[in-house]
C-alpha cells in the first residue's frame, strides 16, 4: 500500500478512543447510581445519539437543520407502537392496523425497524429539501418538524394524540444505551473520514469549488441527511423505551434547541465536539433543573421553583458560545488533532507522504482522448450588458492556449460558460464532439473538465492533502487511492511539504497552486486556469511555468490559461487568443499577437512592450 495517509494512525486511534472513553465513563457512572439516576443518564446517552445524528449532517455540510428531531419523533412512535403490549395498544391506539397492534417485538428489532423507517423518511423528505439553497434548508426542515408534530398531535387513533402514549415497555438500560452511543460515535467518525464524508465537507468549505471538482452537492447532503435520520430514529426509539411515555412535544422545539446547543457548544464540525457538548450541556441542564424545582444553594440561599430557568440558562450558554467561541469547545477538531495532544507527543508528527507514481485519478489505461474542447458562437448578456458576443474557442489535449484581454473582456465569463457555471444565451459547448451545453459543473468535472478560480476558493478546514484528494474523490476515486493521487500531484507542484497543514494556512500564492493541484486530481483532459499567477512573485512565476509545462507533458491535458502576467503566457502558450469587449480580437502565435496593431492599441500598450523587450 502506498504511504499517503490523511493522518497518522496514532491520531486516528486517539480521535476514536477519546469519545469512546467519555461515553464509557458516563455509562459506568450512570450504572453505579440509583435507578432514577440511571434513568437520567440513559436519557442523556439517547440524547447523545441524536446529537451525533445532528453532527453527521450539520457538522459535515455546514447547513443547519431544525428538523432532525422530527426523525427522533418518528423513530420513537414506531418503536413504541411495535412494542406496546396488545392490550394497551388496543386501548390507546384503536386505529392502528391489527398486525402492528398485535405485534409485540423485542427492543432490538423494534429499534432497528424504527431506525430503518426514520432513515427512509429522511431520504424521502430530503429529496426535495436538499435541492433548495443553504439558506432555505433550515426553514424547510423546521417546517417539517412542525408537520411531524402536527401529525403526531392530531392522529389520535394511531399516536394517542396530544396526550400521547403510556405503558411502553422500559427496556433500555444504561449499558445498552452506552453501547448504542459508542457504535454511533464510531459510525459518525467513519463517515466523516469516508470519501462521501470528505466530499460533503468540501461542499461545506466552498460549495462552488466543490462543484468544480465533480461533487454533487445535493447527493452528498442527502446521504448524510439519511444517516442522520437513522441515528435520530435510534435515539428516539431508545429514549422512549427508557421513559415509558411519549407525547408529541417530547422531541419538539425545546429538544431541538437543547440538542442544537449541545452540538454547537461542543463544536459542530467534530464528533468529539458532539460528544463533549452533549455531556457538558446535559450536566449543566440537570443542575439547572435542580434549581428549577427549588433548591438550597450552598445550604444558604433558597431558590423557589421556576420552570423555564434551565432553558434560559441553556439559551445564554448558546448565545455566549456563538459570540465568543463559534467553533465550540473542541474548536471543530477531533481528539487526535488537538494541539495539546500533539504537544504531549501522543500523536506522531505527520510524515510527508511518499509517492509511488500513481499519476492519475482515472485508470491509466484511459487514453488521453484525441478530441477537443470547442465553443462555438457563445453569447451571453447580463441584464442587457452583452458580455460575450459570439466567441469561438478550441482547445486540444496537450495544448496550451493563452486567453488574454483587458479587464471586462469576458474571459472569466467564458470560462464559467465552458465549465457549466453559467449557461450561454446562445452558442454550443462541445466536448470531444458531444454537445455538453447546459451540463452542470459537477457533471462536466466528471467529464474531464477542470478549472481554478481567481479567488482560489480553498477548503480552509481541510488539510492540503485532503483538499487535493477530495478532487479525486469527486470523480469517484476511493479515499485510499485518492490520497495516493493527491500525494503524487502535490509532489509535482512542490507542495508535498505542506501536505498536513490546513489549506487555509497557506499563503495566497500557495492557495493558488493548491487550486491547480485540486483540479489536477480530477485528472482533467482540459484544465481552465483563471489567473493562476496573480499574487505570485517573479521566482514563483518562473516555477509556475515549469510546473505547467510538466503538467501538460505528464497529464497530457490541454490548458486554457487566463493571465495578466504576459511573460507567463508568452513563454507557455504557442497559441494566444485575445478577447476584447466580448469578441475575439485576434488569434495566433505570441509573435503574431504582439505584431497585431489592434491588440497593441486595444489593450497591451506599453506594459506589454516592456515585457516583450525584457
Amino acid at each position: 500500500m502506498n504511504g499517503a495517509r490523511f493522518r497518522p494512525r496514532s491520531s486516528v486511534a486517539i480521535s476514536l478512543l477519546v469519545p469512546l472513553v467519555l461515553i464509557a465513563i458516563v455509562t459506568l457512572v450512570g450504572a453505579s447510581g440509583t435507578p432514577s439516576f440511571q434513568g437520567t443518564v440513559t436519557l442523556i446517552l439517547c440524547n447523545l445519539i441524536v446529537v451525533l445524528g445532528l453532527q453527521v449532517f450539520v457538522g459535515n455540510s455546514g447547513v443547519y437543520s431544525f428538523g432532525q428531531l422530527g426523525f427522533a419523533t418518528a423513530g420513537a412512535y414506531i418503536a413504541a407502537l411495535l412494542t406496546l403490549p396488545p392490550a394497551f395498544a388496543l386501548l390507546q391506539t384503536p386505529g392502528l392496523p391489527h398486525f402492528i397492534a398485535d405485534a409485540q417485538l423485542g427492543p432490538l428489532p423494534a429499534t432497528l425497524i424504527a431506525a430503518a423507517i426514520a432513515g427512509l423518511l429522511a431520504v424521502v423528505v430530503g429529496l426535495p429539501l436538499m435541492r433548495t439553497s443553504t439558506l432555505a434548508i433550515p426553514i424547510s426542515t423546521f417546517a417539517f418538524l412542525v408537520v411531524v408534530y402536527n401529525v403526531a398531535a392530531n392522529w389520535d387513533r394511531v399516536t394517542g394524540g396530544s396526550s400521547g402514549l403510556v405503558s411502553i415497555p422500559t427496556t433500555t438500560s444504561v449499558e445498552s444505551a452506552g453501547l448504542w452511543a459508542a457504535a454511533a460515535a464510531v459510525l459518525v467518525i467513519a463517515f466523516k473520514w469516508s470519501a462521501s464524508g470528505y466530499r460533503l465537507q468540501a461542499t461545506r468549505e466552498d460549495e462552488v469549488a466543490a462543484r468544480s471538482i465533480g461533487i454533487g452537492v445535493m447527493r452528498e447532503r442527502l446521504i448524510a441527511f439519511g444517516i442522520s435520520g437513522v441515528l435520530c430514529g435510534i435515539g428516539g426509539a431508545l429514549a422512549v423505551h427508557q421513559s415509558g411515555v411519549l407525547n408529541p412535544t417530547t422531541f419538539y422545539f425545546g429538544a431541538t434547541v437543547t440538542t442544537m446547543t449541545m452540538l454547537v457548544v461542543g463544536g459542530a464540525r467534530s464528533v468529539l465536539g458532539a460528544v463533549v457538548g452533549a455531556i457538558a450541556i446535559a450536566t449543566v441542564n440537570e443542575m439547572l433543573r435542580g434549581l428549577e424545582n427549588g433548591a438550597d444553594l450552598f445550604g444558604a440561599i433558597s431558590v423557589g421553583a421556576a420552570p423555564g430557568l434551565a432553558a434560559i440558562g441553556l439559551g445564554l450558554i448558546l448565545l455566549a458560545t456563538m459570540i465568543a467561541m463559534p467553533h465550540g469547545l473542541s474548536g471543530g477538531r477531533e481528539a487526535g488533532e488537538l494541539p495539546w495532544i500533539r504537544r504531549l507527543g501522543l500523536t506522531a508528527t505527520v510524515p510527508p507522504p511518499r509517492t509511488s507514481g500513481v499519476a492519475t485519478g482515472r485508470s491509466t489505461a484511459d487514453p488521453v482522448g484525441k478530441g477537443t474542447l470547442r465553443a462555438e458562437g457563445i453569447s451571453l448578456s447580463f441584464s442587457g450588458l452583452r458580455v460575450l458576443r459570439g466567441v469561438d474557442l478550441e482547445l486540444a489535449p496537450g495544448e496550451a492556449l493563452g486567453l488574454i484581454g483587458p479587464n471586462g473582456a469576458g474571459k472569466t465569463t467564458l470560462v464559467n460558460v465552458l465549465s457549466g457555471f453559467q449557461a450561454p444565451d446562445s452558442g454550443v459547448v462541445a466536448l470531444d464532439g458531444v454537445d455538453v451545453t447546459g451540463r452542470t459543473p459537477t457533471r462536466l468535472a466528471r467529464d474531464g473538465l477542470g478549472r481554478t478560480f481567481q479567488a482560489s476558493l480553498p477548503f480552509p478546514h481541510l488539510t492540503v492533502l485532503e483538499s487535493v484528494a477530495v478532487g479525486a474523490m469527486g470523480i469517484g476515486v476511493g479515499r485510499r487511492r485518492a490520497a495516493a493521487v493527491a500525494a503524487d500531484v502535490l509532489s509535482r507542484l512542490n507542495l508535498l511539504e505542506q501536505a498536513a497543514l490546513p489549506a487555509g494556512s497557506l499563503t495566497p500564492a500557495g492557495q493558488r497552486l493548491l487550486g491547480v493541484a485540486r483540479a489536477l486530481a480530477t485528472h482533467p483532459r482540459y484544465l481552465l486556469l483563471d489567473e493562476p499567477a496573480a499574487g505570485l512573485n517573479e521566482v514563483e512565476c518562473g516555477e509556475l511555468v515549469e510546473i505547467l509545462r510538466d503538467v501538460i507533458k505528464d497529464f497530457g491535458c490541454g490548458i486554457l490559461l487566463i493571465e495578466h502576467e504576459m511573460s507567463i503566457v508568452m513563454e507557455l502558450c504557442p497559441r494566444i487568443q485575445v478577447l476584447d469587449d466580448g469578441m475575439t480580437l485576434c488569434e495566433g502565435t505570441p509573435e503574431e499577437v504582439q505584431a497585431d496593431s489592434a491588440v497593441v492599441e486595444a489593450y497591451l500598450g506599453s506594459a506589454f512592450l516592456a515585457a516583450a523587450d525584457a
Binding site: 392530531n154 392522529w155 423555564g308 439559551g315
Partner: protein, 263 residues
C-alpha cells in the same frame, strides 16, 4: 438584512405581553406601550446579541437568533407563567359590520388597513428614501457600505427597530383575534413568515408578500373544504405545500439572488 431571525416571533410575543401587562391603561395607551416594547426589545437584542455576530456567517446568526428566542420565551415563562393568560379586547373590534349582506368582523378591516399601510410604508422607506437606500446597501455589503460613509451601525439598528414595531403590530392583532397570550405564541407566525419568504424567494419584499398571500389563501381554503377528518392536519398540509413549490422552483417563485452561489 440577508438575515433570518427566529427571535422575531418572540418580539411579537413580548409586545403581546405588554398588552397584557398594561391592560389597565386606556386601549390606545396599551397599544402604544406594546409598540414601544417591541421596538425596545428589538434594539436591545440587536445590541447585545446580533451586533457581536454580525460579521459571522449566516448560520451563526441563525443559531444566535434561536438562542435569543429560547431565552426570551423562557424569561416570560418564568416571569409570568407557561399557561395562556387572557387579555380583554375592546368591544368595538369584536363587533361586525355588514357589507352587502356579508357580516365582516371589524378586526378584519383593521388588519387589512394596517397591512396595506405597513406594506406601502415599508416599500416607500426601502425604495424611496435615503435611509432605505442605506439599509439595502448595508444588507448587500456591510463593509463596503461602511467605507462609503453609510453609518451602518445606525442603519442596522433602525431596521431592527422597524422590525420590532412590525412585530408589535402583529402581536397586537393576534391578541385582538385570540384574546390571550402564551409564551410560545410567536412560533407559528414566525414560521409562516419564514416559509412565505422561502416560497417567494429571498431578498424580495414582493416575493414575501406573494408567499404570505399564497399560504393564507391555502390555509383558508383548506379550512373551508377539507373533509372533517383531515381538518386537524391543516397546518401539516399548509407547511408541506412549500416543499412542492421548492421541488420545481428551488430558489422560490421569484428566484431571489441571495442564497444562490456566486462564482
Amino acid at each position: 438584512m440577508g438575515m433570518m431571525n427566529f427571535a422575531h416571533g418572540e418580539f411579537i410575543m413580548l409586545a403581546a405581553y405588554a398588552l397584557y401587562v398594561f391592560a389597565g391603561l386606556p386601549f390606545p395607551a396599551a397599544v402604544a406601550s406594546a409598540l414601544l416594547t417591541g421596538i425596545a426589545i428589538a434594539l436591545f437584542a440587536e445590541r447585545v446579541a446580533f451586533r457581536p455576530v454580525r460579521s459571522a456567517d449566516l448560520s451563526t446568526q441563525l443559531v444566535t437568533s434561536l438562542a435569543v428566542a429560547a431565552i426570551l420565551q423562557n424569561v416570560v415563562t418564568v416571569a409570568v407563567d407557561a399557561r395562556a393568560q387572557s387579555v380583554a379586547t375592546p368591544a368595538s373590534l369584536s363587533e361586525s359590520t355588514s357589507i352587502g349582506g356579508i357580516s365582516v368582523p371589524n378586526l378584519e378591516f383593521v388588519t387589512l388597513g394596517l397591512t396595506a399601510i405597513v406594506l406601502a410604508g415599508l416599500g416607500w422607506l426601502l425604495y424611496r428614501t435615503r435611509t432605505g437606500l442605506a439599509m439595502r446597501a448595508a444588507a448587500e455589503n456591510f463593509d463596503m457600505a461602511r467605507l462609503l460613509g453609510v453609518r451602518a451601525d445606525r442603519v442596522i439598528a433602525i431596521s431592527f427597530a422597524i422590525s420590532g414595531a412590525l412585530a408589535a403590530a402583529v402581536g397586537v392583532l393576534i391578541v385582538m383575534q385570540t384574546g390571550q397570550v402564551t409564551p410560545t405564541m410567536g412560533l407559528t407566525p414566525v414560521l409562516i413568515g419564514f416559509v412565505a419568504v422561502v416560497i417567494g424567494g429571498f431578498g424580495r419584499m414582493f416575493g414575501a408578500v406573494i408567499g404570505g398571500l399564497l399560504l393564507g389563501v391555502l390555509s383558508s381554503l383548506l379550512g373551508a373544504y377539507l373533509p372533517d377528518g383531515l381538518v386537524p392536519f391543516r397546518d401539516a398540509i399548509v407547511f408541506t405545500f412549500p416543499v412542492l413549490i421548492l421541488i420545481f422552483r428551488p430558489h422560490g417563485l421569484l428566484g431571489g439572488e441571495i442564497g444562490k452561489a456566486r462564482v
